[in-house]
Amino acid sequence: MNVGLEHFLILSAILFAIGLYGALSKRNAVVILMCIELMLNAVNIAMVAFSHYKAAIAGQVFAIFIMVVAAAEVAVGLALIIAIYRHKKTVDAEKFDLMKW
């Protein structure tokens, strides 16, 4: 069976759905961050697949920008989680109530 654009897009959708499930259901904030990374990677696969099959290089440029944003997001996200951990001694997302009233 010849691999085409649809296969890469379906792989991307599966990875995105798994990441979405993890990000919505997990309680450990670090695992939520990992699942968000999975979702960003899934989008990157779709971008690169379009770039290859449509012979348009802009898709890969977009993927590079997504990587930049993902790196910045992980740095700030982990800093936030560790700051909250120092304050509350837990990384359980259901116990983060600093902004509730």
């Binding site: 695992v31 990992m34 990677n41 696969i45 099959y53 890969q60 440029v61 920008f65 700030v76």
Partner: protein, 162 residues
Amino acid sequence: MGLDVAFWILAAICVAAAIAVVFVRDIFRVALFMILCFFAIAGIYVTLRADFLAGAQVLIYVGAIGVLIIFGIMLTRDSKRGSPSGRLRPAAMLVALLFLGTMIAVIVGTNWGVASEPSVGPTTSEIATSIFGQDGFVLAFEIAGALMLAAVIGAIVLMRDK
């Protein structure tokens, strides 16, 4: 033909590792499975002839983000708790399955109009021309640099002992 086989193997590794990320209990192993998944995605970029992005994927995701996440896990130890699911688990499963079904229906049902000649050559110089050349993405590139600077300063400010 060889690339097709490589795609199926890499896709299987990728999906299996991603499923392990959401279902394995030991959080350190979760991080290792995530790194495996990123590595398989780098292989998938190779099957798409995106050589520069495959290298960048290994450097940034497998190298930098993987190490950063493992550091994060070690600095926020409650490993006895593992990675339990919250109250939202059934709803999250429902949303994810609905999303997956919709996406697959749309992907299969759309005529994508693939270019007759998929690109094959090395991509690094093409990417450079696209970013820095005439009518390129120079402004977005500069903004990405500013974003990185802001993220680094923000992370330092958040982590500093008061």
